[in-house]
Symmetry: C2
Subunit: 343 residues, 2 copies
């Protein structure tokens, strides 16, 4: 029985507004019975937010630290007022309210990462211990509060921390693929980045090698690196902003059948139609790209008379963190892929 | 066997670009073997496009006609360069190529409406016969070309034409509801406009009266009109841009269970979180509102840790026109509802 799962009572002066949209949160202690208190060790700032802060501070580490402290002091959370984005944190559980869903599961002292954005997490910084300009991270001493609806993951100690954080950042994608991928399916993944790699690895697992897995990207180099994972059957070098080019390539690769499932992990805008056209009639497309335009997808599919089930990639799928960490744990090549890109 | 289902060969000077994105189409005759030729009677201009043209012409009908002719002359299609939108047309089949999928089904002389946008339909205006400023329509003599992928619907003669066109405009919504609504479900529809009314009518049919149907809108008057349809169990007057208010109302109405299916037919922006919060964990949300923000929905669901399947409302679902016309044909109150709003 939780009475305030979304943390509305922490919003200052704007009744009925959710914490993410609120100007200011109250991060004061003690916690309520349905909250969790975390001793924070480091803040992984969202890449877009960190870049904005760094550039507005002329690249000076001290100025970056000061700006971050200023935001947290005035807002009670680390939400960059320019980009609107936050990041995630790493820390140790200090206390779990008796009504919090993790009560009895997590214990004080355990290390966790929060998988909800810092843009909605009450936070106090007591001391800054260091800043790592290269990985958008600051190490601090302070506390944060997690609501009952706030998702988290234990940080395993059998893998490098940076690897874990980098994978958890996109863990919703492979977990949603696991729901839709079935043996025998033809599946295409657009975008050979870390999200695309995890989706392909999961598709490979879900299809049990029965089916056809296509990796699509504009970069020959990215495709070559991805191919080393050994999870895709074919790499197609295409420009996903050119739908007809993608259609022809996928048509050829699938003997005209097109794909049962197309997963969009592109980082650029304008890839909606390529996704729709690569999907067979009656098939499913999942959009994870944050550059996705709702109207381009909805009106585009109608324009070409294509019956495609189009899913918005919800970043939360129950069990997504464990599923993703398990993919990494059991696949050495996937760990190498991540290490090469992000460590 | 169709060789050019998307009409790429009609695009002038931009190889590989789809007709909707193209600056100019070639509407010249004769048609190719996989095309259909239509004698156009009237053009129903998209509301946003018509408003822009009307305002830029100071409201003068002659100037509006001239501007539309100018667009069609220069682009070979009626796509407003400012709004990017088109509309739909009404006409009689003149000729059907032997490789067009409608060959053998439709006959020359039959009246049809096209359900793909005028923004991708090759068009020539020979003569303008009249303009109806009140319903965004111009009557013409001319021809249009439909590609193999272009969807259309016969215009039945047992219902007023304006009613038919108005319903066909949103026919994808009830058809998608028909795929997901099941007896016993709790279903909420946000937005009491024509799209919302059709979705509720279909939900009522799909659930067979077993379940719970909620109509949500900000306007007491709109809800009262909708209630006369007799298809919803309860009307909730809420502001869908205030997610917590919607959550509380839906929670109360459903005894805390929330909804298995939430259908967003809102016309305003900022209703994503209300949709997500009104849906139960494991439930489904369908977004038809063209004001939907992809990132607000995807990041919002993650922020509150909600496992909701989020679908983008594809405007094309096989059989959508017949399903919608059948809803109108068998429900006199629905016809009255539409007549009151749009005739």
């Amino acid at each position: 029985m939780t009475s305030d799962p979304y943390g509305l009572a922490r919003v200052v002066g704007e009744p009925g507004v959710l914490p993410q949209r609120a100007a200011r949160l109250d991060p004061s202690l003690p916690i309520r019975s349905d909250e969790m208190l975390i001793d924070v060790e480091s803040l992984n700032v969202d890449a877009a937010s960190f870049r904005q802060i760094r550039e507005s501070c002329g690249g000076h580490p001290e100025a970056v630290v000061e700006r971050i402290q200023e935001i947290v002091r005035s807002r009670g959370k680390l939400q960059n007022p320019v980009t609107g984005s936050g990041g995630m944190l790493l820390g140790k559980v200090r206390e779990i309210g008796p009504s919090h869903p993790a009560h009895g599961n997590l214990k004080p002292g355990e290390r966790i990462a929060t998988l909800v954005s810092l843009s909605l997490t009450p936070l106090v910084i007591d001391e800054v211990r260091g800043v790592r300009m290269d990985v958008d991270r600051i190490d601090i001493r302070g506390h944060a509060i997690l609501f009952a609806s706030g998702i988290w993951s234990r940080v395993p100690d059998d893998m490098p921390e940076t690897l874990v954080l980098s994978a958890l950042d996109v863990c919703g994608a492979p977990a949603l693929v696991a729901r839709y991928a079935q043996p025998g399916m033809r599946i295409a993944v657009l975008g050979a980045g870390k999200s695309g790699a995890l989706c392909l690895a999961q598709a490979h697992r879900s299809t049990g090698g029965k089916g056809q897995l296509l990796a699509l990207d504009i970069s020959e180099k990215a495709l070559a690196t991805l191919a080393e994972l050994g999870v895709s059957d074919l790499s197609l070098r295409v420009d996903a902003t050119r739908p007809v080019e993608v259609l022809e390539a996928v048509k050829k690769a699938t003997g005209g059948a097109l794909c049962d499932l197309v997963v969009n992990c592109a980082t650029v805008a304008g890839t909606e139609m390529a996704t729709v056209l690569a999907t067979r009639d009656g098939g499913t497309a999942i959009f994870f790209s944050m550059a996705t335009s709702f109207t381009a997808a909805a009106l585009g599919a109608e324009g070409v008379g294509k019956d495609v089930t189009m899913l918005m990639g919800n970043g939360y799928v129950p069990g997504h963190a464990d599923l993703t960490l398990d993919l990494l744990r059991t696949d050495a090549r996937l760990r190498v892929f991540f290490a090469g890109r992000y460590l």
